[in-house]
Amino acid sequence: MKGLMFSLLPLITLVLPMFISILCLSVYPFSFFHSAFTRLSRYILIIGIALPLVVSILMIPEVLSGRTLELPSLSIYVNSTNIALIFGVLLISFFVSVYSIGADRGGRLRSEIYVFSVLLFVFCMLGIIMVYDLFGIFIFVETTIGAAIILVAHSPTRISSEAAFKYLILTAISALFVLLGVLIVYILSGSSNLFVISSSSSQLTSNPHLLMLAVACFIVGLGADIGLVPFHGWVPDVWPASTPIINGFSCTEPLPLVFGLYKLIEPLYRIYPSNTIILLVGGVGLSSVMVGTLLAYRQTDFWRTIAYLTIEEFGKMALILGLFTPDSLIAGQILLVNSSLMKTGMVLSLGSVQICNNSSDLTLLGGLAEKMNKTMWGYIICSLSLAGIPPLSGFYAKWFFYSALHDFLLTHVGMIASVLVTLLISVSIIPLVILLRVFHRIFLGQLSPVSKNTKEAPLSMWFPGVVIAFIAILLGLQPNLLTALFRSS
């Protein structure tokens, strides 16, 4: 009985945000509820995310004891390979929902639709992580895109409509590639369950060309949804066009999408272990690292800088998960969770800067260290952690990343591995320089005219950033807390 109850926890985690979002939507036709709902919407959002977060915490001890919580009829599985990602999505969403108490300045959407879209977005992301079915993943990816586009269009800025349309077209085409890949694999294997596909594979292995075509479709499809080079065109437009709250929620996107890409390609690699698959995923990842790093430096708008650094981080995630070794899976997951969390801290801090100064232009800002010191600490600690500076959590994420990469390269290219990893470490110094440059421009130097009347952001806005910074320090000093979640995978 207890076992059955625990098996239902993933379903409860998944359904709760959806249920609350539908409740919110059902209020929409009743205009007399509108003003009350608008006042309560931020708290409803917090409740809608806090409840599944609590349920996900209940799942952690069970999963750490080695159990898989599963509902095979729905292809829902929660085990050590995805529990940290589920927790990560909900924790980040929770921080952002707390941030929205002070940061929400309204937008184009009525609050009922806005809360519905956010909770639908969270539901779909949890679905991508939990579901191990080809069609299930496609449906969740398609719906995630729809919800994300509504949220981008919610921003009252002039550029948001254009950015939302660009995002829509690129990601909708990419979803068709995902569908094409899904259909190819399903028609060849006769099953849509990823575990069944990886165990019975005769049709797939007898058609390696089609298998490779499916892999290419998944890379193009999910690569565009994630924002990997060369499918990244929408990323630098969407970040400046969205509200800081939506940018905060966007920080959770790599967790399901990069993991989704891994989930779709990994069974195909297991049954047809071709180096071409590694080269395809790794090539896209490496080019994202290079392009993201090089383009981030030139930007004068800090959202565009963050957008390019995001592409760089996505590249690293794809690169490491695309090696398909046990170590690279652990390293990739740690990198995914840490990067997403730290980027959230940075984005929320920068969002506070934008809201308090009405500008995201690095050439107009300056000298905010005294006026916004709590925001500053949130930003700098999260930035240093993201860049991998010890003794912060990011250092371990980067350590595992380079270690797994080095081990893989050593078995494939011999001693050149050290040279390649050293080169990559050298390149990774550039994001640190860029993040410090942003810090210098915003917080140091003389107080700029636009910031003369600036005050520190409200408690609900700086607090999540400071808590994330505290988590970075805590996990840096006690890395076992982070690695324990992944070790058993």
Binding site: R108, F135, G136, I139, F165, L168, I187
Partner: protein, 212 residues
């Protein structure tokens, strides 16, 4: 060999998809979308009807229902959503960026390339995927329709045509997922129309190149 009826309908659908490349009016393009979706889903729907009459089983009824739902969503619901978006914006007549002889040459090259690809694939493609090459050809033509048009609604129609192009493969998908896929498709189209209306209200044009 592919059945003659299926082959014939796929050719008709491909011709309709190609016609979309030349159409200048957004309203006519909506009608083209309806026509393309109607023809592409018609064969599968007729198969299900025949199967339903021959074998009055719950499975046959379910298959018919899913085929009808797919066909109805693609041929009626989605075009209606797009037409609603068109009605909420000013009627505008925006020509494609590439037109005339260039498009004809492009289409001929595309068809020839896919014909050659089809011959190459024939030897090792499973029989269940014999419609694949038509699906890919229509998909690519639809993407080309999106690329050469600057009218936001025409781009959206091109996207839906690309989605319809995968219909011959989509009929192979498990029936249980069909309603969810259709809901997702309708949801994305509603969002798209909503974004286009917002963009139109902001920029006062549907010409995407002027949205800055």
């Amino acid at each position: 060999m592919m059945e003659t009826l299926v082959f014939g309908f796929l050719i008709v659908t491909t011709v309709i998809t190609i016609a979309a490349l030349f159409i200048q009016s957004a309203r006519c393009m909506v009608y083209t979308l309806v026509l393309q979706a109607t023809t592409i889903g018609f064969v599968q729907l007729m198969y299900c009807v025949v199967e339903l009459f021959l074998d009055l089983s719950p499975e046959a009824l379910a298959d018919f229902f899913y085929a009808f739902a797919e066909w109805f969503v693609c041929a009626a619901v989605v075009p209606s959503i797009i037409y609603f978006g068109l009605a909420r914006t000013t009627y505008s007549f925006i020509k494609p960026t590439i037109k005339g002889m260039n498009v004809i040459v492009f289409v001929c090259l595309l068809v020839l390339a896919h014909f050659a690809l089809g011959l190459w694939l024939q030897s090792w493609f499973p029989s269940r995927m014999e419609t694949f090459i038509f699906a890919i050809l229509m998909f690519n033509i639809s993407i080309a329709t999106m690329v050469i048009n600057r009218h936001a609604i025409k781009i959206l129609i091109g996207l839906n045509m690309a989605e319809n192009a995968l219909f011959p493969l989509l009929v192979e998908s498990p029936a249980i997922f069909v309603p969810f896929i259709l809901v997702a498709v309708v949801f994305v189209n509603i969002v798209a129309v909503y974004v286009i209306i917002f963009a139109y209200q902001t920029y006062n044009t549907l010409l995407v190149t002027d949205w800055r």
